[in-house]
């Protein structure tokens, strides 16, 4: 069961990060907080797993990073979307919606039968 959930997370984590960054430039801690707040803590993920995802997205040139100073005055790495990332976000969102719709209709069919 654990394995299934992890896979699901990995598939969606990229989308979550891209979506969160659509609001502006954020560092890893803020991203983790926002995902937790927006999802009402329903998406439980180890916070550290965010970082491989961030670096992976940076590697694909969907987001870019810059060192800056956090609210608390510490130096932190801020991420923001690149134009390519914005395009990707739209695509992923569409993809997700159609996937979710397809899943819903399949599951709905099962229930009604």
């Amino acid at each position: 069961m654990e394995k299934v959930r992890k896979e699901l997370l990995q598939g969606t984590l990229d989308l979550l990060v891209l979506k969160t960054l659509a609001t502006g430039s954020l560092h890893g801690w803020d991203i983790a907080k926002r995902i937790a707040v927006v999802s009402n803590n329903r998406l439980s993920l180890k916070q550290g797993s965010l970082y491989p995802a961030l670096h992976r997205l940076e590697g694909r040139n969907w987001i870019e990073a810059e060192w800056g100073v956090s609210d608390a005055g510490r130096s932190a790495k801020f991420y923001k979307l690149t134009p390519k990332g914005k395009k990707q976000l739209t695509e992923e969102k569409d993809h997700w919606h159609s996937f979710a719709a397809a899943m819903a209709s399949v599951l709905g069919m099962e229930e009604s039968s």
């Binding site: 970082y51 670096h55 790495k77």
Partner: protein, 880 residues
Amino acid sequence: MTIRKKLGRLFRSRRQELEMETELQFHLNQLAEEFMAEGLDRESAERAAKKEFGPMAVYKEQIWDSWRPPALADIHRSFQLALRSLRRSPGFTAIAILTLALGIGANTGMFSVMNSIMIRPLPYGNSEGLDRIYRATPENPKGAISPADLLDLRQEAEAYGEIAVYAYVDMTIVQPGKPADLTHGIRVSSNYFDTLQVTPILGRSFSLEEEILGNHRVLLLSYATWQRQFGGEFDVIGRTVRVNGEPHEIIGVLPESYSDWRYMGHVDIFRPLGLTPEETQERAETTMHLIGRPHPHLDREESHTFLSAISEKLAGTHPEVNEGSYWWAQPLNLIVADAPSRGVLSMIVGLSGFVLLIGCSNLANLMLARTIARSREFAMRSALGASRLQLLKPLVLEALILSLMGGVLAVLVAVWVTDWLTLASTNLEGDVAAFYLDWRVLAWALAASVATAIAFSLAPGLFAMRIDVNEALKSGGRTVSPGRGHQRLSKILIIGQFAMAMILLAGAALYGKGLHDATSRRFGWDSQNLITGQILLPEGTYPDQESIRVFHQETLEKLEALPGAVSASISYYNPFLPWHNPQRFVPGGKNLPEPGREPLVEVNAVTPRYFETMGTPVHTGRGFLDSDTLNSPKVFIINQYMAEAFFPGENPIGQQVGAVDESGYIWGEVVGVASNVQSVFPDTQQWRYQLYTPMAQALEHRGEIAVKTNGADPEMLLPLIRQTMTEMDPDLPLRYLRTADTAVEDDTYQQRVLYGILSGLAYLGLGLAALGIYGVISRTIVLRTGEFGIRLAIGARVHHIMRMVLISGLKLSLAGAGIGIAGAYGFAHLIVMAFPGLNLDIVPVIFGTALVLIFVSLAASFLPSRRASRISPTEALRAE
């Protein structure tokens, strides 16, 4: 992403790592602070933060992977696995790296010798465009040309390109207030340095006018001479020194790089050609050496056509000297090592390859054993669906890691080898035969390492791919006992090792024995209690024959009067070093051979007591007397070969022999027959016929002095001789004053270096082969413990077991030696071809070597066989 960024990601940089660390730590700190704000103490807060964050190490690994392309990330992981596996068996790893360091190091060292001598280009501008031009005659394929021919050539050289000329000339240099120096010099045409594209670092090179006699008294110095004789002072330009008795002005100094030991590196002084009027008419004496730089638009064919046209033309205009000669050219870079030395150099690289192969097969055997021990693991992975490539990858990677580490150490070994060679090859005059490690050598080491890795992971790899999955998994936790096939593979490797060791050892022994025989042979001379040295009388002080004669006479009187001196002589040559003065002779009263077909005879001019000084016996007739002078009838002493060939079945004494001259024959009477003499050089075959003429009838400025002593300490006599010569003439340089035994040793250093190389490789090969058989026999015993236990339990005696083990080792080494003997014969023939002067005792040496090899293998298998004899039957069977 920019290329730079991409490349940057290939390597995990320190900065990147620090940034990642800071980023993750920042998050952890924030988490911890949050927990503390909830009321936890610092310690529990940090623990909770770590829990919430998740496995840090895993994330880091994932982040690193995201920096690398996927293939690289995979290789990285496999690499770490291989490293871990090697770290688990440090003994194997250490032996493997050491073997590889020695094997690859020996190989790389030998390659660097080959590279330094025959691959590295000469230090001239565009040296690949330079040709050495020869005039081949029936006697000498690499002959020089005469000055008169040179003048004819120059009128047409424009069609060819640049043709530069040089001629050797010994020069006596006298600086005010310093002892005279006898130096190697050359006279060069004014375009010599332009043709080589060498520019002086100080001053200028020669102008066209300075090539004309009278303007020629200007000098260029080699860098070494400038440093040694002139203290490297900058105001040396414009200074005047006396050369051969005449004042010359120094106008320039050449760069250090110009003096390459491989080609004319020993030349100290350069002077313009300055042909004398007699020389411009000279067509018989060939003293001019040519270097050409053909026009770039000429191909090889065309430049050769030009040269053949020249030779045909000269043969037409001057048939008496040029009939049957032709001109040809060879790239200058090729002549630094002639065909035999190229052969020898390739041979030592090949032999060092044998050493590497022996090392390789040792490692293959060790790896094979490791693979067999891990066959369950391999079977498991293969059962889980690993592809062949995936099965082989860890093996190849382990091999690659080992051989690259070995390769790095090998470069150190190669540095050490070349340092030793440089030291051993530095000759009396301080000319350093430099050996370089350049990129070619490093590339070779890398290539050798990779090739080695592939070679020694091949055998275990083949084994791993053939593992029977069912069989291996069924056999439980125990090691799979190696099947017959793998034992055979092991044995073939050992036999191959011994065959190669046999060839190495026999080759070194053959050459060493031949060299020892050659340098210790005393054919027609006796170097005991003999001191020799070289003189060159300055032409300015000794302008005519009479002045030289007087000098010789007085010198010999003084030398013979020294305490401890028995007799003294002056001659063109010593009997123990090669002579270079072949002339054509005909016997009197016989049918004269066709012109150009007369036999060649080595000619030496000697003073009366030469024969007793050198210990060359005069068998019949008389030696030379003080009464044989310029005005008395011409007399000769010939050697036994010449007497037998010229006057078969007759008494040679009183017969006439004639020297072939341009105008006919110069006849003289044979007054004695001397013993045949042979120099210590094994690889220079001289003319068999030797002829002596009285020094008084053929006086020359240069000569060899020799003093026979009564056994007095040479350390006492050497300074006395030097002092006597200085008293005779303070301007007289004396070169190479040393005992004859030292002279022989100094002049055969190259051969001894080669012997050092050969024996070093042989010992290394033998050691590795012994190690190999030791390892394989030890392993067989471990594998056969159960069998031996049973044998002992049913009544076999300990010595039976030991005999079985020894015989199995003996069989391997006998088979190896057998194959090796065939190879050694082949090798012996190579040595004979490369060194025609060596007398090899092929059969006894090869069989002696085989005995040594078998003894070594017995010793190497005896040690493990003792372990076999200590097997306790009960324990062995219990383990079963």
